[in-house]
Amino acid sequence: MATVLATRDTAMRTAYLAVLHIGSIKIALPQNEIRTLEPVLDLRRTEAGPAVGVLELDEGVWPIFSLSEDLLPLAELADARRVCVLLGRDELAFGIACDKVVSVPAEQVRAVPAPEVLARRNSPILSLAVHGEEILCMTTTQALAGLLRSRGCLEAPHSPAVPVFDQRGA
């Protein structure tokens, strides 16, 4: 059964959360937003650009980012990163290198609003959550993509070349 976790902008409906360990931080997002997990050993390193490498799958090429504990893109793959979490698809496809990924039933997690003093414009952290004795930072693929876009790491979604008209009233 899916559990609804209220966040700042949206209600997050998911049965499981994927908890991404990046150094000492733990960010959680709906597990159904994860496309697949791949070992960093399969990463093809790239020379230029904010991504530390790419993963080539049948579905396409996924840029992989190694993030700091402040979720800022690093130039090099941090030593502790072991697994790449591939998120999104099509224009939004990207991956995050993590130390490990743990699956947690959403019903075991209690979402709480982030204290207002923590508020920062464009933060990808939508709320916090209590899981046992730990506090998780809740996010989504869209929120992480927004942060990467703001850092110039991902392109903004393409606007359609041809205007799309709402045909419901046509």
Partner: protein
């Protein structure tokens, strides 16, 4: 008519490290967490509040006052990284007397010291730290520590946009 009665109040003097001190009302400190309380870092948070703590089943923001008054240039340490040796004071405050109490946490460099303050101790804040004026409701002079701002915790725990 008699001479005016000098009022006094009790306060906790908080050690912030680097010879900096601040004070809060005696009833505002609820709990001191020693022995390396576990702080959970929150990415993309303001430099003065980079972590939260789980206290009494509540998620409580942890403010580094030194980083707050210096805009992040000076901090108690790598605040927010779980496992560091440090003290945390859990404080309660009301932004408005009609509102319920809210809870916050302050990073400390030592145990709080109790002091009794009278009207005669009132002074101007240290001109070297202009930012104190934004977060202090008063200031008093202490024989050992000099001018000590009395924190308005409602202002300290305001969202950053509202602090400007």
């Amino acid at each position: 008519m008699g001479a005016p009665v000098e009022r006094s109040a009790d306060a906790w003097i908080l050690a912030l490290g680097a010879d900096r001190h601040a004070a809060v009302g005696i009833t505002e400190v609820l709990h001191i967490l020693a022995y390396s309380p576990v702080l959970f870092r929150v990415p993309q948070a303001p430099p003065h509040c980079r972590s939260v703590i789980l206290w009494e089943d509540r998620v409580v923001p942890v403010v580094d006052l030194r980083a707050l008054i210096t805009g992040g240039a000076d901090a108690v340490g790598s605040a927010g990284v779980a496992g560091l040796e440090q003290l945390v004071a859990i404080v309660a405050y009301q932004s408005d007397s009609s509102q319920p109490a809210e809870f916050g946490a302050l990073l400390l460099a030592g145990l709080p010291i109790r002091a009794t303050v009278t009207d005669a101790d009132a002074c101007e804040p240290d001109t070297g730290v202009v930012a104190w004026a934004r977060f202090a409701s008063a200031c008093f002079r202490h024989s050992s520590y000099g001018a000590i701002p009395v924190l308005d915790l409602g202002r300290v725990f305001r969202p950053p946009a509202a602090q400007a």
